[in-house]
């Protein structure tokens, strides 16, 4: 069952939480709604569940318009952030609850609940009360309860945020395993980019109520369509700087004397340049992009992160630890042309690089998303 949102809008008094959102979620996909808090991702999930009704726009489950259908009748499964397991019911009864509401005969309901408990690997805990379970176990019960009625759509609202780091990694893989085993369409809300990028088939990055970019995780990371996407993804964050044209490909970093030779010919007099720290490498002066004084060096595990001061801007780069660098050294950083992103100074949109003679597949991709 494909899920189609058409011009979906949700307004709370003065604030527009979701703004004319249009997209399609394909059958069997695991889609992440990613974004900073207050971007409308949870509201979108509530709209999908039917717990909220949109101000305008439509939601289709397959061919059926469910916009005005109540949550009770949408036949969806949902996992809440704090699981919302009924505290007075045992694990088994919690899982059976949706079936009881559907008036499934008791024996069958029991069998189906036990079968679902086995799938999420909690069949040895059936008699316990939720308070006697660990966070990860409660999470599994919540998933079993959401899936037991065989819904067409599974919604997960920040399901991992209440777990500790190790368990989060484990449950992340579990959610992916269960989703693929059941073959269900799932929408997953998270503010954690690593979660979104690691388990989803597709990521929708939202900001201020609208989708900024809707693509595969890799695509989103490699070819951000605007400055917001570029700066939201990645840790340490992408380096962004404004440059002004002096002549041809020769640009000057704003508020400094640093000259930057861009590998591309652009139509913009002023442009924002973005390079991820891991895409920068130490190089010699001639082929470099930028050079500056090392302000700070820190070694995190296998990486060395350096911070350069260039004019008023500081630039972070992850470099090979084999270079013997010291604070105060002057060094030059370079980057491959594919790894340099350009954004319009006013709109923040990605600037399309003019196709050159040797234009490769990547350039084509850029055009698709520009």
């Amino acid at each position: 069952m494909d899920i189609r949102l058409n011009q979906l809008t949700m307004q709370f008094e003065e604030m527009t939480a979701v703004d004319r959102m249009t997209t399609t979620i394909n059958n069997g996909e695991l889609v992440s709604l990613l974004g900073p808090s207050g971007c409308g991702k949870s509201t979108t999930l509530m709209l999908l569940s039917g717990l909220y009704k949109p101000t305008s726009g439509e939601i289709f489950f397959g061919d059926k318009n469910v916009t005005r259908l109540d949550a009770e009748k949408r036949k969806i499964g949902m996992v809440f952030q704090n699981y919302a397991l009924y505290p007075h019911l045992s694990v088994l009864k919690n899982i059976m609850f949706p079936l009881r509401m559907q008036k499934v005969p008791k024996k069958e309901a029991r069998e189906r609940a036990i079968e679902m408990a086995a799938l999420v690997r909690i069949d040895h805990l059936l008699k316990r009360k939720p308070a006697q379970l660990s966070g990860g176990q409660q999470q599994r019960v919540a998933i079993a309860r959401a899936l037991v009625k065989k819904p067409k759509l599974l919604l997960l609202d920040e399901p991992l945020s209440n777990l500790d780091a190790r368990l989060r990694l484990e449950m992340r893989e579990e959610i992916r395993r269960i989703q693929q085993e059941v073959g269900i369409t799932a929408v997953f809300v998270t503010h954690d980019q690593e979660e979104a990028l690691s388990i989803s088939d597709r990521v929708m990055l939202m900001n201020a109520g609208s989708i900024q970019q809707d693509s595969t995780p890799q695509q989103m990371y490699k070819k951000p369509v605007n400055e917001f996407v570029a700066s939201f993804l990645g840790n340490p964050p992408i380096n962004l700087m404004t440059v002004e044209r002096m002549e041809a490909r020769q640009y000057k970093l704003e508020n400094s004397a640093q000259m930057v030779l861009l590998p591309e010919r652009l139509n913009h007099e002023r442009v924002r340049v973005g390079v991820r720290p891991e895409d920068l490498y130490l190089t010699d002066k001639d082929s470099g992009l930028l050079s500056g004084k090392v302000l700070h060096i820190e070694t995190i595990g296998r990486d060395t992160m350096i911070r350069l001061k260039i004019g008023n801007t500081s630039v972070r780069a992850l470099v090979d630890p084999k270079h013997q660098l010291q604070t105060g050294d002057i060094c030059t950083l370079g980057a491959d042309r594919d790894n340099i992103h350009y954004f319009d100074c006013d709109t923040g949109e990605r600037v399309n690089v003019e196709k050159e003679a040797q234009g490769d597949a990547d350039t084509a991709d850029v055009e698709e998303y520009a």
């Binding site: 569940s49 039917g50 717990l51 109540d70 949550a71 009770e72 009748k73 036949k75 969806i76 499964g77 949902m78 809440f80 704090n82 919302a84 397991l85 009924y86 505290p87 007075h88 609850f97 949706p98 509401m101 559907q102 308070a131 309860r145 959401a146 009625k149």
Partner: protein
């Protein structure tokens, strides 16, 4: 932070408990013991405070007194008449008040007023409402062609009148407690139940009721105990008489009569002690039942 019990920290705990214990012992425990001993005075000279004989004679006398049996029966009828309907009504009103409505604070105050108003004032007003010639209730009943009912003066209607007054009086307290209980229930459970396909009735039955059970339990115990102790409503509503033809004579009223009007201290204390046992028994039974149905979260 649990620590091992030592003499030192036990002593410290006792010191903390002392102020409350002093008050409890002086005004609760001592009177209970004392009244039990008084109930054993079968021959007592209260002018000189000399007891000539101890025994269980007062209890024997009590159970032979038809007025006591009547008082016990009336009390039980009163409790059955008041407690369940009061709980159902106040829960219903609390549920209504718990939805988002305008002027919620105003309604809460209105419903709580009866509880904080003096019983005597309340009873005077209700005395007029129940008035057979000019009363509001009879006026409403006349719309349906029902003849005036002598609420206060007819032995058949005195108990219903008392029950109506007491339900109304207790509503405010129960509503406030139920509202607090309802607001303690996490809204997530309702969202989860909705997604799980539960209708409004099923959400009430499967989420609200079980999660409200500790509150329900508390209110039922308090209401039953208060019901057994009913006195001032009767005194005020029937002008210092236990209703026409003893129709609203309750156990506490019986104790009052024996103690203050007839000066039969032994008998009065025996009656009070029997009432204590009955209330105790009811509470124990409720605790046993409660263990099975009450869910604490």
């Amino acid at each position: 932070m649990p620590t091992q019990p030592t003499w030192k920290n036990t002593l410290k705990a006792c010191l903390y408990l002392l102020p409350a214990l002093v008050i409890l012992i002086t005004f609760n425990l001592y009177p209970i013991m004392k009244s039990f001993f008084i109930s054993l005075y079968t021959d007592y000279d209260f002018f000189n405070d000399v007891v000539y004989e101890y025994g269980f004679g007062n209890f024997a006398k009590l159970f032979q007194d038809p007025n006591f049996s009547k008082a016990m029966l009336n009390t039980i009828i009163f409790v059955i008449g008041v407690v369940p309907s009061s709980i159902v009504l106040s829960l219903a009103i609390a549920l209504l008040l718990n939805t988002k409505i305008k002027m919620m604070g105003f309604f809460r105050t209105i419903y709580f007023l009866p509880f904080v108003t003096s019983v005597v004032a309340v009873a005077i007003v209700w005395g007029w409402i129940f008035h057979s010639d000019y009363g509001l209730i009879n006026y409403f009943l006349s719309w349906f062609g029902i003849d005036p009912v002598k609420w206060i003066t007819d032995p058949v209607f005195a108990m219903p009148a008392l029950i109506i007054l007491s339900i109304w009086k207790g509503l405010g307290f129960n509503i406030i407690i139920f509202l607090a209980g309802l607001q303690n229930i996490d809204k997530q459970y309702y969202l989860a139940a909705k997604v799980d396909g539960a209708s409004a009735w099923n959400r009430f039955k499967s989420v609200t009721l079980p999660l409200l059970s500790p509150t329900m339990f508390f209110i039922s115990i308090i209401s039953i105990i208060n019901g057994f102790k009913v006195f001032d409503e009767i005194f005020a509503l029937f002008n210092g008489r236990p209703g026409p033809a003893n129709s609203t004579l309750t156990v506490v009223y019986y104790v009052y009569q024996k103690f203050y009007e007839e000066w039969q201290f032994g008998l009065a204390s025996a009656a009070a002690f029997v009432l204590f046992l009955v209330v105790f028994l009811f509470t124990v039974v409720q605790l046993i039942i409660g263990k099975r149905f009450v869910h604490y979260h």
